[in-house]
């Protein structure tokens, strides 16, 4: 069993300034016909917009519960990659384990900082391309391959073969999201998707670990990579301020170190020794049957 990185709550993204796309204002109509046409377009366009937005999963302020998704099989969806060619998800994970994440290119909030953080964490943690690859999929039906390529370019990852940016059909994206604990919901008031920032580690088609949070911690990612390399990581993170732990795991060295909590494990025996010494050596004794009492004994 593994537990998720819970140090950061899932950061949900729909605030802040737009990084890539700006909304182009329409030209003012001049004639009545044009005005009517424009109104019609607006209505149709809005309806089209509504149809294009999709939602999946149940929104929550909490990061997805990793325990629930561990070892679940992910659906074998068809992905269209940077080059525009289609590929099955199983072909990707059969070749190498995958870190999957889902974003949308019009995101004005968490997506870009999160991907930047994932990028720097992967380069610090090592193993990218040799031990695993990263798959970034868009859950926004309006995103095209060109949009995803643009995003990859912005991040300086367009020519990096270890990073796959892609899209898939909306129903398949929904299935994948639901199988991996990722949710998204269109928020019409801000014209943005509400969604968590999550990285899902997939090995041989199964979820083996999840990281949640806008910033991807290098040590957390290292633990995940160790898992993807087939090493059993007997460590789990705790939320909030941690008072004591028994062991700390150092993913850089792969070693466990003793922590202060272990001292508490030693206290009971220590107190017992001290109490024994106090009682037997410091308290006044009555008439003791002394050690030197001459009793002949054969053994």
């Amino acid at each position: 069993m593994h537990q998720s990185f819970l140090g950061l709550s899932a950061t949900r993204g729909h605030a802040g300034s737009s990084l890539r796309k700006s909304v182009e204002p329409g030209k003012p109509p001049c004639t009545r016909l044009a005005r009517l046409g424009f109104a019609l377009c607006l209505v149709l366009g809005f309806a089209g917009c509504l149809q294009a937005q999709q939602s999946a999963g149940k929104p929550s302020d909490q990061p997805p519960n990793e325990d629930f998704y561990l070892y679940k099989q992910v659906p074998d969806i068809t992905v269209q990659d940077k080059a525009g060619s289609t590929i099955q998800l199983s072909q990707i994970w059969r070749d190498k384990p995958v870190l999957l994440t889902m974003v949308f290119t019009r995101c004005t909030g968490v997506c870009s900082p999160f991907l930047n953080s994932l990028k720097s964490a992967t380069s610090a943690a090592g193993g990218l391309g040799t031990d695993y690859r990263v798959l970034v999929l868009s859950f926004d039906p309006k995103d095209s391959i060109a949009d995803m390529n643009g995003m990859a370019e912005d991040l300086g990852l367009k020519s990096n073969a270890a990073w796959i940016f892609g899209i898939a059909s909306p129903p398949e994206i929904r299935r994948l999201a639901e199988a991996t604990g990722i949710w998204f919901r269109w928020d019409a008031s801000v014209q943005q998707y509400d969604h968590p920032a999550v990285v899902v580690a997939i090995e041989q088609g199964r979820v083996v670990r999840m990281l949640a949070g806008a910033t991807v911690p290098v040590t957390g990612l290292m633990e995940v990579i160790q898992e993807l390399r087939g090493k059993f990581v007997a460590s789990y993170a705790l939320p909030g301020k941690v008072a004591f732990r028994c062991f700390e795991y150092d993913p850089r060295s792969g070693h466990y170190t003793l922590d202060w909590g272990l001292l508490l494990m030693v206290l009971p025996a220590t107190f017992a020794i001290l109490a024994t010494v106090w009682i037997f050596f410091l308290l006044p004794a009555r008439k003791r049957i002394a050690d030197s009492f001459p009793v002949a004994r054969t053994y």
Partner: protein
């Protein structure tokens, strides 16, 4: 230092009588609690038999918590009271502290009844972190607070009692003598009764257990203040305490048998080098054997698991094997006087052996993969409790009642008691073992369809418990008479 083996100057006749009376009060209380707590067990097996389809499962868990804590506490204090009484032959335990413990235990028990039956507090006996803090509305915060207050009261009283008995031993024996180091080193020294040796080892260890319990309670408080506590640390500490408490109770019972069975066999059962090595080894091994409760905790390092398995095996060998073979050797070809008490002592030691074997099987990592949290677990600890230390303490109460009242026992009724206890007890346990070996999980109020055979086993167990309860009632009738007469004497 003045040398003496004369202990008559330790007690005046009046003081000794008072101490004996207090021990009888403890005994009577244990006899009162036994049928009540056993009935709670009966109720649980009925619940699992689907006899109460409309009752909320929360009741099962509240009763489970009360039954288990009540039983664990009852037999611990029963063991302590018995050992204190027997130690009066060699040392001077404090009567006041025994009384303080009596009232403290009563308060603790009342608080436990309030939070379980009154507040539906239902975490099970070892209240594993962080369950008490997450009731999901089943019990109210007051029930959690009451539970921890009860634990604190009981823990404090029992720690004081432990220290007092150690003090009493220390007044008469040096540490070297009390731990039988003379025997170990092969050097001449005073005769140390096994009772003193085993009690010393048990009391030192139980003090360590109580310190662990205090740390657990404090850490619960720290968690409530908003600091995350490592659940792995809490689980380690909880089982350190729990495992020690349960083992110590057994050892106290065994110490009583070492002291009393020879008087029935007409032969001494003395400390020798093997006995000393066995019990001194317990002092070390018991500190690490509890790791077998955490075999399924992936975050526990592998070397800890391995060490836990080794210590569990070795813990069973010295104390268990030495005592069981010692007991058999004592009885073999002796002019044994078989009475209710002596039969119960003998069966109790053998029951410890049976439960011990089941425990060693489960403490093997490979086996634990299959038996962990199945009914095999309650099976093994019910064996060495119910058919082990419970029988021994019942034997001790009968022995004391008979000693004071001088009422003769009726051999046919003794036979009937023994037959009913054995048949009902082992029959009831066999259903736990059978169910555990067939992967029926423990702590299920009602078994779902996939585990339907669990319901069947519970129904068979129900029949056996009825027989067991008949045995208990007949025992209470017999021994109760002797105890009442002893009081008036």
């Amino acid at each position: 230092m003045e040398l003496t083996t004369d202990v008559t100057n330790l007690w005046s006749e009046g003081d000794l009588n008072k101490f004996r009376r207090m021990t009888l009060i403890w005994g009577a209380t244990v006899l009162l609690l036994l049928p009540i707590l056993a009935s709670l067990g009966y109720f649980m097996r009925m619940f699992q038999s689907n006899f109460f389809p409309h009752m909320r499962p929360e009741w099962f868990y509240a009763v489970l918590t009360l039954h288990s804590l009540g039983m664990v506490g009852t037999w611990f204090v029963g063991g302590m009271a018995g050992v204190s009484y027997l130690l009066t032959q060699y040392t001077h335990p404090s009567l006041a502290i025994s009384k303080l413990n009596y009232w403290g235990t009563l308060v603790g028990v009342l608080l436990l009844v309030a939070c379980t039956l009154g507040g539906l507090f239902g975490t099970g006996w070892y209240f594993l972190f962080p369950l008490p803090l997450y009731s999901q509305g089943v019990w109210q915060p007051w029930a959690t607070v009451t539970f921890f207050v009860a634990l604190a009261v009981l823990g404090l009283c029992w720690t004081i009692w432990t220290l007092d008995l150690l003090r009493a031993i220390a007044q008469r024996y040096s540490l070297k003598a009390a731990l039988g180091l003379n025997y170990l080193l092969g050097k001449p020294g005073p005769d140390v009764p096994p009772l003193v040796l085993i009690s010393t080892v048990s009391l030192i260890v139980s003090f360590a257990g109580f310190v662990a319990a205090v740390i657990v309670i404090v850490l619960f408080g720290v968690d409530a203040l908003g600091y995350a506590i490592d659940p792995l640390l809490m689980k380690n500490l909880t089982f350190f305490f729990g495992h020690i408490l349960v083992n110590i109770t057994m050892y106290l019972g065994v110490a009583m048998v070492y002291e009393l069975l020879p008087s029935y066999a007409g032969r001494p059962w003395k400390t020798n080098r093997v006995v000393a090595i066995a019990w001194d080894a317990v002092l070390f091994l018991i500190l690490f054997a509890f790791f077998h409760h955490l075999y399924m905790d992936f975050a526990q390092p592998r070397w800890v698991q391995t060490f836990g398995q080794i210590c569990s095996y070795f813990l069973a060998v010295p104390a268990g094997v030495v005592s069981i073979f010692g007991c058999l050797a004592l009885v073999y070809a002796s002019k044994m006087k078989w009475t209710l008490a002596s039969v119960l002592f003998f069966l109790g030691i053998m029951g410890w052996g049976v439960g011990g074997i089941a425990a060693v099987i489960d403490s093997t990592v490979e086996v634990n993969f299959h038996f962990h949290n199945t009914l095999w677990v309650p099976a093994h600890f019910h064996t060495y409790y119910l058919m082990g230390v419970v029988l021994i303490i019942l034997g001790f109460i009968d022995h004391l009642g008979l000693e004071v009242s001088k009422l003769q026992e009726s051999p046919p009724r003794t036979k009937a008691i023994i037959t009913l206890l054995l048949l009902g007890g082992y029959g009831f346990l066999s259903m736990f073992y059978w169910a555990g070996a067939h992967s029926i999980p423990r702590r299920y109020a009602v078994y779902p369809n996939e585990l339907a055979q669990g319901t069947l086993y519970a129904r068979v167990a129900f029949g056996f418990i009825t027989v067991l309860l008949c045995g208990i009632l007949l025992y209470l009738w017999e021994t109760g008479k002797r105890c009442i007469k002893a009081f008036s004497a």
